[in-house]
C-alpha cells in the first residue's frame, strides 16, 4: 500500500476513484503496428557511446559480465544452482587440479596446437586451463540477428589467455576516471559459450561478493571444457566459416577462481518475451530421467531448459524436430562414452547431448559422439552392417518418434535390400517409383531374409511389403521423406 490518503476530496473523488479513472483512461489498446514501427525506428537510430570506468565509487561492468549476442533470446538463461551429480574438477593434494571426463587439461597454447595438428578429432571434448580476462563492453550499433558463431560486435566472447593479464586499467583525471584497454598478449583464444555454460552469473557472483574497490577486470583462473568444429559453424557465411570452425565452444565451465562449478542447471526464457520458463522437472529429475539411458562412464556436464522451437539454435538449423515449439525440453551435455539408448550408430566422439521432454520425463533425442544424422549435409548412406547382431544402420535423425506429425499422404509399400546404400525405401503402389526415407533415432533394420524395421526398443514395426500411407515430412533438399509410426 502506498501513501495514498484514501479520503474523498471536495470534488468527490477519493484515491480509489482516481486510480480507477486512470486505469480506464489508460486501458486503450496499443495501436496496431506501433511495436513494429518502434523497433524499426530504433533500428535506424544511432547509439551513443559507452560510459565505462569508475563512477560514483562503483565499478562499471566489464564485457564478459554484460556481454550480448547470444544465439537467441530464448537462450537468455540464468544460473540457478549446481548439481551434486558427480564432481568434475577439484584441487588435488599437490595443489594441481584433478581432471575428469578422462580429458587432459591443456594450456591455451597446447590446446591451439592440438587443434592445429589434428590431435583433437572433430568436435571431441577438450579441456583448457588459462585465465579469463575481462574486456570493456563496446557500444554496438543495432544489429539484426546473425549466425550464432559469427564474430560480430555483439558476439558473446570469453577471452582466455595463457598468462594472467589485466587489460583494462583506470587513471584519475580531472573529470573522474579515464580508461585504458590493452590487447591481449601471448597465446589466447576467444571462447564461445553454449547454453547452460554462461560464465556471466558466476563472474557476477564473484565480483559482487568481493571488495568493490577491487577491479572486476582482474584475471580469473579457469578450466573450460569445450569443443571445436561446432555443428553451427555450417550456418556461418563463407568468409567466416573457417573462423567459426576454429571457435572453441564451451560445454562446461568446470572450475573458476578456485570454485568447482559443474554440472550446472540453467533455465532459459520464453522465445517471444524472455520470461523465465517454468519447467516441471528440476536438474536432479532430469538426471534421474536420463540415468537408465546413459553409459555408466558418462558424466553430465550441463543441463539447460529451453523451448523446443529454439533447439535449432543449439543443435543447428538443419536439426528441426516435429512438435509444439512452446514445449519445454531439457538439453543435457554429456561427457563420456555413447549412451545406451537410443541405439544409434554412434561414431568415435567422446561427448554428446541428450534431450529430455519436460512434460513426460522421457528421452526425446540425442546427438554427438560422432553420430551423423541423415538430415545433415555430411551424411553419407552406407549399407554396411554397422550394428551388432547383423543389424543394419538406417538413415536416422536425432529424434525419437512421438512428436507432432505434419502428415504427408502416401500410397506405398516397404522394400529393402542389404546391398542398397539406403537399406530400406518405399515403393509407390501405382507407379512402383522409389521414395527414399529417413527414420527416427534408434531405428535399424535386419533381413530374415526379407527386410524388417525395428524401433529404438528393438520391436519390429514394419516388414517387407507392409503398406505405408502417411509420413511426417519431406525434405526437398535431399528428396527424402521422414517416416514415423503409425505410418498412416
Amino acid at each position: 500500500m502506498n501513501e495514498r490518503s484514501g479520503r474523498p476530496n471536495d470534488a468527490g473523488w477519493d484515491d480509489d476513484r482516481l486510480a480507477a479513472a486512470y486505469r480506464s483512461l489508460a486501458a486503450a489498446p496499443v495501436p496496431a503496428d506501433l511495436t513494429r514501427s518502434t523497433i524499426a525506428a530504433a533500428e535506424a537510430a544511432p547509439r551513443v557511446g559507452r560510459r565505462w570506468g569508475w563512477d560514483g565509487g562503483e565499478w562499471r561492468r566489464p564485457r564478459s559480465v554484460a556481454a550480448g549476442g547470444l544465439v537467441a533470446i530464448a537462450l537468455v538463461a540464468i544460473l540457478i544452482g549446481s548439481l551434486a551429480l558427480r564432481p568434475t574438477y577439484g584441487p588435488g593434494t599437490n595443489g594441481s587440479l584433478a581432471p575428469a571426463h578422462g580429458l587432459t587439461v591443456r594450456s591455451v597454447s597446447e590446446l591451439l596446437a592440438a587443434e592445429s595438428n589434428g590431435s583433437i578429432h572433430g568436435d571431441d571434448l577438450a579441456a583448457v586451463r588459462g585465465w579469463i580476462v575481462q574486456e570493456l563492453m563496446p557500444a554496438c550499433p543495432y544489429q539484426p540477428p546473425s549466425p550464432a558463431l559469427e564474430d560480430t560486435c555483439t558476439s558473446r566472447k570469453l577471452l582466455m589467455t595463457e598468462t594472467a593479464q589485466t587489460l583494462v586499467t583506470f587513471q584519475p583525471v580531472e573529470a573522474g576516471m579515464s580508461e585504458t584497454e590493452l590487447s591481449p598478449s601471448g597465446p589466447h583464444l576467444f571462447a564461445r559459450e553454449l547454453i547452460g555454460n554462461y560464465v556471466d552469473p558466476v563472474i557476477s557472483s564473484i565480483l559482487d561478493a568481493g571488495n568493490s574497490t577491487v577491479s572486476p577486470y582482474r584475471p580469473l583462473e579457469a578450466i573450460l571444457v569445450g569443443h571445436f568444429h561446432d555443428v553451427r559453424a555450417a550456418e556461418c557465411s563463407a568468409d567466416q566459416r573457417a573462423a567459426c570452425e576454429a571457435a572453441f565452444v564451451v560445454d562446461q565451465v568446470a572450475w573458476l577462481d578456485g570454485r568447482t562449478l559443474g554440472p550446472n542447471v540453467w533455465i532459459g526464457g520464453e522465445h517471444d518475451t524472455g520470461k523465465l520458463l517454468t519447467p516441471r522437472l528440476n536438474g536432479a529429475g532430469v538426471a534421474a530421467a536420463l540415468a537408465s539411458s546413459l553409459d555408466p562412464g558418462d558424466e553430465i556436464a550441463s543441463i539447460a531448459a529451453v523451448q523446443l522451437g529454439d533447439i535449432t539454435t543449439i543443435t543447428g538449423q538443419g536439426n528441426q524436430v516435429p512438435g509444439n515449439g512452446a514445449d519445454i525440453i531439457w538439453y543435457v551435455r554429456v561427457a563420456g562414452p555413447p549412451p545406451r539408448f537410443p541405439a544409434l550408430a554412434w561414431g568415435t566422439g567422446n561427448g554428446g547431448w541428450m534431450i529430455v521432454d519436460d512434460a513426460s520425463g522421457h528421452v526425446r533425442g540425442a546427438g554427438g559422439w560422432g553420430f551423423v544424422p541423415a538430415n545433415s549435409a555430411s551424411y553419407s548412406p552406407s549399407a554396411a552392417p554397422s550394428l551388432p547382431g547383423g543389424l543394419y544402420r538406417l538413415p536416422t535423425v536425432n529424434w525419437l518418434p512421438g512428436g507432432a506429425c505434419a502428415g504427408v499422404g502416401l500410397d506405398a509399400v516397404l522394400r529393402g535390400s542389404p546391398t542398397d546404400a539406403m537399406v530400406a525405401w518405399l515403393e509407390n503402389t501405382g507407379t512402383n517409383a522409389r521414395r527414399d526415407v529417413t527414420w527416427p533415432a534408434g531405428y535399424h533394420a535386419r533381413f530374415t531374409p526379407n527386410i524388417e524395421i525395428l524401433d529404438q526398443n528393438g520391436s519390429v514395426v514394419l516388414r517387407d511389403g507392409d503398406h505405408v500411407d502417411g509420413a511426417c515430412g519431406y525434405n526437398p533438399d535431399t528428396g527424402w521423406t521422414y517416416l514415423e509410426p503409425p505410418f498412416k
Binding site: N2, N9, L25, A42, V48
Partner: protein, 183 residues
C-alpha cells in the same frame, strides 16, 4: 534475487550491448505498460503513440549508459516521462490534432443540451490539460502505476520531499480542475 528478475536483468544486459533480439523482446514486453503510462500523462492516443516510440528509441540509444540493470523499469519510466515532455512541447507547435471519437460524441451530446454524466476517464482526460507535465507524471506514476512516493522520486530524479510536495500540489490542482469541470 528472484529468478525472473535475473532473467530480466540478463535481457537488459544483452540489449545494452547491442543485441537486437533482446531489445525487441524488451520492446514487446514493455510496450503495453509504456503506452499506458504515456497515455495517462498525455491523455491523447496519437501523442501517447509518439511518446512511446520516442521512449524506446531513446532507451535504445541510452542503454549503454544504464548503470544499474535492476532498475531498468524505473529508468524506462523516467525516459517515458521525458518523452512525454518532448511530445507536449512538439504538440504546442502542431496546428492540427487528432480528436478522439469519444470527445466528438460528448460534444454532440452537449450541443443537444443533454449534459450527460461523462465517464470518469473522460473527465480525467479533460482535466489533465490544466496540469503541468510534471504534475501529470507524478499523478500517473502514483495513482496509475501505484508507485510509492519514494519510487516516484527516484524515477523523476528528484528528492523525496520534492516528490511529496509535487504530488500534493498536483492533486490540489486536479481537484480544482475537477470542480471546474462539474460547473
Amino acid at each position: 534475487m528472484a529468478n525472473g528478475a535475473l532473467a530480466a536483468r540478463s535481457l537488459v544486459d544483452l540489449a545494452r550491448s547491442g543485441d537486437a533480439v533482446a531489445f525487441e523482446s524488451l520492446v514487446r514486453s514493455r510496450m503495453d505498460a509504456t503506452y499506458r503510462l504515456t497515455l495517462a500523462i498525455l491523455g491523447d492516443g496519437a501523442d501517447a503513440a509518439d511518446a512511446t516510440q520516442e521512449t524506446f528509441v531513446a532507451a535504445w540509444q541510452q542503454l549503454p549508459s544504464l548503470r544499474d540493470l535492476d532498475r531498468f523499469d524505473a529508468w524506462l519510466q523516467r525516459v517515458a516521462v521525458n518523452a512525454c515532455r518532448m511530445t507536449l512541447r512538439a504538440r504546442g507547435r502542431r496546428r492540427v490534432r487528432e480528436i478522439p471519437m469519444t470527445q466528438l460524441g460528448g460534444a454532440e451530446e452537449s450541443a443537444l443540451g443533454a449534459a450527460p454524466a461523462r465517464p470518469d476517464a473522460e473527465t480525467l482526460r479533460s482535466t489533465l490539460r490544466h496540469l503541468s507535465l510534471d504534475q501529470r507524471a507524478v499523478l500517473a506514476l502514483h495513482h496509475l502505476e501505484g508507485r510509492p512516493v519514494a519510487e516516484v522520486a527516484e524515477i523523476l530524479g528528484i528528492p523525496v520531499g520534492t516528490a511529496k510536495s509535487r504530488l500534493f500540489k498536483a492533486r490540489s490542482e486536479l481537484d480544482k480542475a475537477l470542480r471546474e469541470e462539474r460547473r
